[in-house]
């Protein structure tokens, strides 16, 4: 029995239980109010156990992919509940779990208003994300893709900050609108396949062998591309991101930046690159141009922000530009770089959002001028902030550098001038990161209110785990690089993986 469906459904069911438990516990004591939090923690622990089983357990499934699960869902339409896992999915699943723990441990415990609903939505979003990384039925993929949005929309618009409604609506419109384009592309692909073979199916592996004219292929690929580009995000369709990240509650910011952006990168690899390899190659110059534009534009705007969460949000755009650039270099080096960059960005930016969120929870402001120097009063929080800021500026020895270097190397093979231009982004990264450090951490001391306290040892050790992982990804990324290459599309021929475009 494959554990894959359990992996996907467990958070959703656990979330429902958490909500019900919270509704039924009428006593107003604080321990009872934390019941949904406890259940969430338990769900995540169970999920970790499941993922450990998936990673290290014996697989009955023999094939190039690691694991497979399929049952018919709507047979008349050829839709099935089909999940497959390869190294890419597995590494992103681990990132999902590793990031949700700090979210729950550091951020969601503070939620007082309607904690049950909050945790339900949080876990529902996790189901969407996990499912997106696993689904290989295109209809199921679309379903889970959309499932991810709705809880996030509610999380932002209900628990967000001052301008939350507008941010939530903008987020929803952008992602939903682009999702519709993807649906059209999926339908186009399915119908083309049906016309050719008289088989109605949404199966990823079958559809990969559809013969498409070059024009149709480009149109269909663009449909996918736009949906993923909005999610990644790519300049100029990034405008939902700064607002959404800034206004979202801390846990949702971490989910958004750490995980949801990765679904965009994952989709580009899994669908654009692997379903339409030739077309993706033709489209690569445009995509790489957009990637470089994203790197420089995001970094440039990040230098101008005074709102600390906005600054981190724009730096995210810059980092995800590297992902886009790496994916479309058309080489394994670039692809591996993009994947490492996704993992490292998830860890470093996720942690930065947690820290920024903690500052906002304590001081009720995100304005760097008002936060002032925190080092003297909160050395733990500040040193963690410094650590992740340095990681995010691309210091060698941290995961971000590994990703960026591999991407730059692959880009240099394609076009050295573009790559040289991109290194300017590294200088800008230093500027915005250290500007933040010298404004809120290592800056003239401003005494925070008395009731606000520094991180506890426990909280620091949670962040410490992220630090260790980030350094490991920086100095010893080889196991992850070998593991996380996407498996080949042919379900029959066993292969060592990593030969998508050959």
């Amino acid at each position: 029995m494959s554990p894959l469906p359990a992996l996907v459904l467990l958070p959703l069911l656990g979330g429902a239980v958490a909500w019900l438990a919270d509704r039924s516990s009428t006593t107003g004591t604080s321990s009872a109010r934390k019941i949904s939090w406890r259940i969430t923690l338990m769900v995540l622990t169970l999920e970790t156990v499941l993922l450990l089983i998936t990673t290290f357990g014996q697989h009955s499934y023999q094939g190039p992919w690691l694991d497979h699960f399929s049952i018919p869902w709507i047979p008349i339409m050829g839709i099935s509940f089909q999940l497959d896992m390869d190294g890419l999915s597995l590494s992103l699943l681990w990132l999902t779990l590793i990031l949700s723990f700090p979210c729950v441990l550091l951020a969601t415990r503070k939620i007082d208003t309607n904690a049950g609903a909050f945790h339900f939505l949080f876990l529902a979003a996790l189901t969407g994300i996990t499912g997106t990384f696993l689904a290989t039925d295109l209809f199921l993929f679309f379903f889970l893709w959309e499932l991810m949005l709705v809880p996030m929309f509610v999380l932002i618009s209900a628990w967000g900050h001052e301008d939350r409604h507008r941010a939530a609506i903008r987020f929803f419109l952008f992602t939903q609108g682009s999702g519709l384009l993807m649906l059209l592309s999926i339908l186009g692909l399915v119908i083309t396949h049906y016309r050719q073979t008289d088989v109605l199916t949404f199966d990823y592996f079958t559809l990969a062998h559809t013969h498409l004219s070059s024009f149709l292929s480009m149109v269909l690929m663009l449909g996918f591309f736009i949906a993923f580009a909005v999610k990644l995000p790519v300049v100029p369709v990034h405008v939902w991101l700064p607002a959404a990240h800034t206004q979202a509650p801390t846990a949702a910011s971490v989910l958004l930046a750490g995980l949801m952006l990765k679904t965009g990168g994952y989709g580009m690899i899994r669908f654009n690159l692997m379903l339409f390899p030739e077309t993706a190659l033709r489209f690569a110059p445009v995509a790489m141009g957009l990637g470089v534009a994203g790197i420089l534009y995001g970094a440039w705007l990040s230098c101008a922000q005074n709102d600390v969460k906005r600054l981190i949000a724009y730096s995210s755009i810059s980092h995800m530009g590297f992902v886009m650039l790496g994916i479309f270099t058309g080489s394994n080096t670039g692809l591996q770089g993009a994947i490492v960059q996704m993992l490292a960005h998830g860890l470093s930016t996720g942690a930065l959002f947690l820290i920024a969120g903690s500052i906002q929870d304590r001081l009720h402001t995100r304005d760097m001028a008002q936060i002032g120097g925190l080092w003297a009063s909160w050395p733990r929080l500040s040193s963690a902030g410094l650590f992740f800021a340095v990681a995010s500026l691309g210091m060698p020895g941290f995961g971000n550098f590994t990703g960026e270097f591999l991407v730059l190397l692959a880009t240099w093979h394609v076009n050295s001038i573009v790559a040289a231009l991109t290194t300017a982004g590294l200088v800008l990264a230093a500027i915005y990161s250290l500007r933040m450090v010298n404004r809120i951490f290592l800056a003239p001391t401003r005494t925070p209110p008395l009731h606000a306290t520094d991180f506890s040892i426990g909280q620091m050790s949670v962040l410490g785990v992220l630090m260790v992982l980030l350094v490991l990804l920086g100095v010893h990324p080889q196991p992850v690089m070998t593991l996380s290459l996407p498996s080949s599309l042919s379900t029959a021929a066993p292969s060592s993986g990593g030969d998508y475009g050959q």
């Binding site: 405008v239 440039w300 080096t333 591999l406 240099w412 200088v427 100095v475």
Partner: protein, 652 residues
């Protein structure tokens, strides 16, 4: 034996981690003790390594590959260390000088509340510097290269309460980061053309001639820019004087002895690559020579003791670049070593003096200090004499002499025939030597002699005095291991580097000139500032040229005008996301257009329906006329209809 290499890096790293995690929980003494003992153990390791190296002299360098870093189809990099003569020399300098500076810092920093952060960053720095010098893979070297940069940033901005310090820290990091980006480009070029950044792979590919000449030129240029930025040479010289905002041990360790020499180390390590590109070599030499003169002139008019030393560092690094550019990398490394000794000594002594004068850094408010602090005076004199290159008795003389005498006969293939570039560069270096003696003697005469202006207090603790004594010894006698043939045929240093130095015919007058110029400088300085009634008594800063020189020839203002202000302005201008406005604007426009269409439609519909109603009304009234209830009219209509039907039937 090779396990000592990772241990060497690990000891300071572990100490840094320990200090960061226990910050605020352990006493200042313990912090200093842990840091100094970690560096001390590292120094011990490197001495053991040196001993083993000197006794057995292995034919192949000691190597250890710790693990695969990243291996892809077209590229591979490892975390790997190797020990060859150059890196052995560097680890000796880094750990021994580093250890002495740490010893000194225990007492110097003991009152600081952030002492754990200070020592944590210092030991982390030593660890990064050791990675830099030990790596046999250039990408692994880059970890150390950027690592020392971030430690330097943290230490310059150590006293973060003053925004000027953090601004100086950021400036240092940004300028070196620009160089780092260039260096990364150079590494990428080499990586794409050879598939690996292992030093020996790159050099083998170079020897086999598989790298195209243009590629090689581009790579060397980019690497040179990286080195120039790290070593604060023209045009990157402006960050180093500002970096003096950090604690004095930091200035001694990072901004004098070790980190700023990373650029020299890199080029010396890749000297084969650079030798293959004459254009870049010439550029290196010219930049080096210009930096010597520019920085020496600036040092001559400074009034802040630490800034004098900072400009002097830039100038001395210029000598090393000049030597690298003329192909005598052995001389550059030799000068690097002696400079590390005497400049660390000068900085530490200056720190001790400043501490005893209640943080007074202006040399014109000091004076007559030889009476109140004879020990420090002796130490400073030893360092100053070495810096000036006083013949025979100082280490600086031998290393500078080695550079000077080799430049005279150097050959630049790209230089025009009518231009004796080697002689010109020699002249510039000689002028630099004169200026060096002049400015450091000026400093000595003003600070230690003449009337006393500020009362000194306290005494220098023994823990601070011991490192000064050791460094004084090294500054004076550290240079006798290599001598010009004219004096004595001692070539221990170049034999140690296992690369016999191409000692050209050195005319005696060349050595004599090199030896007499510093003495001339000291004599003139004595006439100008040292006599009981000095010629130059006033504080400089009156005339325009001196003011310009004092500000570093306006480079700061120029960069501010050219880069910083435009950048700030443009960033401010675009602080709001234009695309955000654009897309929202499109949304607004769509709404406006649809509103317009809606109103237009409503209006037209209203108009249309009004007209229709009117029309129907009229028609209604017309039809109503027919229904007037008179039977005769109806009968007439029926007849008329019948007639019309008949007519139509007949006609058709």
């Amino acid at each position: 034996m090779s396990y000592l290499l990772p241990l060497l890096v690990f000891l300071p790293l572990a100490s840094a981690l320990f200090l960061f995690t226990t910050a605020g929980k352990i006493s200042a003494q313990t912090v200093g003790f842990v840091a100094a003992s970690a560096i001390g153990l590292s120094a011990l390791c490197s001495i053991v390594l040196a001993g083993a190296f000197l006794t057995s002299a292995p034919s192949t360098p000691l190597q250890i590959t710790l693990w695969e870093w990243m291996h892809t189809q077209e590229f591979s990099a490892d975390i790997a260390f190797a020990l060859d003569p150059i890196s052995l020399l560097m680890i000796l300098v880094v750990t021994i000088v580093g250890f002495l500076i740490h010893l000194y810092a225990i007492r110097y920093m003991e009152e600081e509340p952030g002492i754990a952060r200070f020592f944590g960053c210092m030991t982390l720095f030593v660890s990064a510097m050791l990675v830099l010098v030990l790596s046999s893979d250039l990408l692994c070297l880059f970890i150390g290269w950027e690592g020392v940069g971030i430690c330097s940033y943290l230490l310059i901005g150590f006293w973060y309460e003053n925004p000027r310090n953090t601004a100086a820290a950021r400036k240092a990091f940004y300028m070196t980061r620009i160089g780092d980006a260039a260096m990364l480009c150079g590494l990428l070029i080499l990586a794409t053309s050879t598939g690996s950044l292992q030093t020996h792979t790159v050099l083998t590919a170079l020897g086999a001639g598989t790298i195209a000449p243009q590629t090689l030129t581009a790579a060397a240029l980019f690497l040179l820019v990286g080195g120039l930025a790290k070593s604060a040479q023209i045009p990157f010289q402006t960050w180093l004087p500002d970096a003096m905002a950090g604690p004095t041990p930091t200035s001694a360790l990072i901004h004098a002895a070790t980190m700023v020499t990373a650029g020299i180390y890199l080029i010396a390590r890749l000297h084969l690559l650079f030798a293959a590109v004459p254009l870049v070599m010439m550029l290196t030499a010219i930049i080096g020579a210009l930096t010597i003169l520019m920085a020496a002139c600036t040092a001559l008019v400074q009034t802040d003791l630490k800034r004098i030393l900072a400009w002097s560092t830039i100038s001395q690094l210029g000598y090393m670049f000049l030597a690298l550019g003329t192909g005598i990398w052995q001389a550059a490394v030799f000068h690097l070593m002696t400079h590390a000794f005497f400049k660390a000594l000068l900085f530490l002594t200056a720190g001790a003096i400043i501490a005893r004068l209640h943080h007074e850094q202006d040399i014109f408010r000091m004076g007559g200090l030889y009476r109140s602090m004879p020990g420090l005076t002796a130490a400073f004199l030893a360092g100053a004499a070495a810096l000036a290159g006083l013949p025979l008795v100082t280490s600086g003389f031998y290393s500078k002499e080695m550079i000077l005498s080799s430049i005279w006969s150097a050959h630049f293939p790209l230089a025009p025939l009518f231009l004796p570039l080697a002689h010109i560069l020699w002249g510039m270096a000689l002028a630099g030597a004169f200026l060096t003696a002049l400015y450091i003697s000026r400093c000595v005469f003003i600070v230690f002699f003449g009337p006393s202006r500020t009362a000194a207090s306290g005494s220098t603790p023994r823990l601070m005095a011991i490192p000064l004594a050791c460094l004084s010894f090294l500054s004076l006698f550290g240079g006798v291991i290599e001598m010009p043939d004219t004096l004595a045929p001692i070539h221990l240093f170049t034999r140690f580097l296992s690369s016999p130095f191409p000692h050209a015919e050195e005319p005696v007058w060349l050595v004599l000139t090199g030896g007499s110029v510093p003495i001339a400088g000291i004599v003139i300085a004595w006439i100008l500032w040292g006599r009981a009634t000095p010629v130059m008594q006033e504080i400089p800063g009156q005339s325009t040229i001196i003011r310009m020189a004092k500000e570093g020839w306006g480079a700061d203002a120029l960069y501010d005008f050219l880069f910083v202000q435009p950048f700030r302005f443009l960033v401010w201008l675009t602080r709001h996301d234009i695309l955000d406005y654009l897309i929202l604007g499109i949304g607004r426009m769509t709404r406006a257009i649809s509103t317009f269409f809606e109103t237009a439609r409503t209006r037209s519909l209203t108009l249309f329906s009004g007209k229709t109603i009117l029309f129907l009304h009229e028609g209604d009234a017309l039809l109503a006329r027919f229904q007037n209830g008179r039977v005769r009219w109806y009968a007439a209509w029926i007849v008329a209809g019948l007639c019309a039907a008949l007519v139509s039937g007949v006609v058709s």
